[in-house]
Amino acid sequence: MRISKRSTLLLGVATAMLFATSGCSGGLLGGDDAGSDDTGPVKLAMVVPISGPSAPSGEYMSNAAQLAVDEINEAGGVLDGRQLELLVEDEACDAQQGVASANKAVSAGAVVSVGGYCSGATLPQLPIFEEANVPMIIPAANSQDLVKAGKKNVFLVNGTGNQQSNAALEYMLKTGVASVALVDDNDSYAVDITAETKRLIEEDGTITVALSTSVTPGESDYSAAVRDIMSANPELVYWTGYYQEGGLIINQLRNAGFTGQIMVADGSVDASISEIAGANAEGVLATMTQTPDTLEGGGDWIASYEDAFGSAPGPFSLQSYDAVRLAAHAIDEAGSTDGDAIIAALEAVDGFKMFSGPLTFTADHTLSSGGFVILSVQDGAFALEDDLS
């Protein structure tokens, strides 16, 4: 995302070439690959950020997925005794890298994809997995664009931008906020949430949008946005971008004397936000799906995660764990590793037990209920503020 600015042209060319090659290999190998290997391990691809600014999230996700794989294998695997194998590839939050990794995973024979963190890097992977007829269960990326692509192999187990906007509005109404400022970083994911939130707020009519603005990511000085917010004087600021800029904006807003509430979207839910903004991050609200710390009864699960990896789980660990379990469930239901059969099995899932609640997919392959809650920073860490129920 950040690197792409300099190499937009290069990236375009490279992506085009990769698309072309993936088209070829899918056509040649797609047919005989599925049937030829009936006894070996069933491979799941997980393309998540291992390098780049979002690397910590990638680790939370791949560890949790590995935990699910290990548990399933211990319990006898899938399809009467075949083991699951997790192929973790780097997404780097970069479209170019994501495409390369998706191609690598497809040619290694993955039958289901359980990765996808940055929407911008996940979106260009869709055609690659579609070409190879590999169902994608996306645990974190949740841009509306992923839904709009309308691919039949794409399933989102994280709430979408739309559902997040709904949660934001619900909380604003609940606490009686009169005016809000919406700020994004021009990224497709963030613009998506601001646009949707703005639409919902205006539809509802009780709250005024005092300001809707964008900043350029990758800078240090956000005094312009801060000045605009101060003069619009809203009761709540909703930042929908990622945490690097989020931390800076929170810090600069508070230093400029802003006393209203600040709310951030799930891209900014990261421990680094309170490192960057220091004490100024205290009390910052967030719209986020359940994390292990905020979930009732998540304690046992956290303990087994810590046991396996020596560190605590983080955002999107739960969704990744559930994505693997869902994949295994669908493969078993389908009775084969054939893409179409697995997709049919996923569509037929009804009330599959997940951390975020019983799962059933809607017609456009998103969750029937989003599971968004409100978190707030308390003593430097995100904790549950309001479960919106």
């Binding site: 950040r2 005094s223 000045r227 230093n255 680094s272 960057i276």
Partner: protein, 297 residues
């Protein structure tokens, strides 16, 4: 209004510090040193490593420790600039201009991803923060750290100006920028003067890096990219190759951005400032203070 001007001048002084390096190097060897923004990033990281390794000491010493770190970082980034010139640019001095330009882009990537490989790609938060009282001047909120940083930037720029105008090395720099071969024949040690130019330019960028880290609190390996482009723009606005022009250009760009953002909204800020830049350069291709460029050509 006063707030807009103050914010613009504050950001502009960072642009100006970095723009100086661009302008000096261009003035003397006609090289667009695209690695210059990454020297700024390097300075921020050198400061970060020093402050972190001192443990709790900097917190106790406050501004004093920060000033020491600033000076050491300047010396080290200056050294890095000299090494880059010696090993990446000097061997290519007689090569076509484009070859050196691409080398500069290569150095830029090397610095970015070298730092990313060593320090990790996650953003780091600075161990020492500049915090201080905020006071109200004619309706603008001005904080003590901002005043301090602008004072440091002004001192650095004024001393540079004096150095270039009043000392023999400064005179040598100016003469090389007019005619390198002629200067060589007049007995000026061209290589040593170019080395000094790189040292000074890189040291200023390094200082800006440490100041940015201590003020904004967050650094990462890509932080030099965008500000490098902005500083390059500032150098061109002011008239590239011209020292006072670079300072002026930085402040002008900062003000343009601040006005653009408040009049047209944040998402139009860069559109506004660059449209103004294009219009301005159409009417006055040499920049605000660009006479020296025409003189050379």
């Amino acid at each position: 209004m006063t707030q807009i001007i103050w914010d613009g001048l504050f950001v502009g002084s960072f642009y100006a510090l970095i723009a100086l390096g661009y302008s000096m190097v261009y003035g003397i060897i006609k090289l667009l040193n695209f690695a210059h923004g990454d020297i700024y990033m390097l300075g921020a990281f050198i400061g970060f490593v020093m402050l972190t390794s001192m443990g709790g000491l900097p917190g106790a010493l406050g501004i004093g420790a920060l000033l020491v770190v600033l000076l050491v970082s300047m010396a080290l980034t200056g050294g890095a600039g000299v090494l880059i010139e010696r090993f990446a640019y000097r061997p290519l001095r007689k090569a076509p201009r484009l070859a050196v330009l691409i080398t500069a882009v290569g150095v830029s990537f090397t610095l970015q991803y070298g730092v990313s490989a060593i320090m990790g790609s996650n953003p780091r938060s600075y161990p020492v923060r500049l915090e201080g009282d905020v006071f109200d001047v004619l309706g603008a909120r001005i904080s003590l750290p901002q005043v301090l940083l602008m004072a440091i930037a002004a001192i650095l720029m004024i001393s540079l100006n004096t150095y270039i105008q009043k000392t023999s090395t400064g005179r040598a720099m100016r003469s090389i920028s007019l005619d390198m071969k002629g200067s060589l024949l007049m007995g000026i040690n061209v290589n040593s003067v170019i080395t000094r130019t790189f040292f000074i330019g890189s040291a200023l960028a390094g200082a800006a890096g440490v100041m940015s880290g201590a003020y904004y609190g967050k650094i990462d390996f890509m932080m030099g990219f965008l500000i490098g482009l902005k500083a390059f723009t500032a150098a061109v606005i002011g008239g590239i190759g011209n020292i006072q022009g670079a300072m002026l250009g930085g402040l002008v760009l900062g003000l343009l951005e601040a006005f653009g953002a408040s009049v047209f909204g944040g998402e139009w800020r860069d559109v506004f400032s660059f449209v103004v830049l294009i219009l301005f350069l159409t009417l006055r291709p040499t920049g605000i203070l660009g006479e020296r460029v025409t003189e050379r050509v």
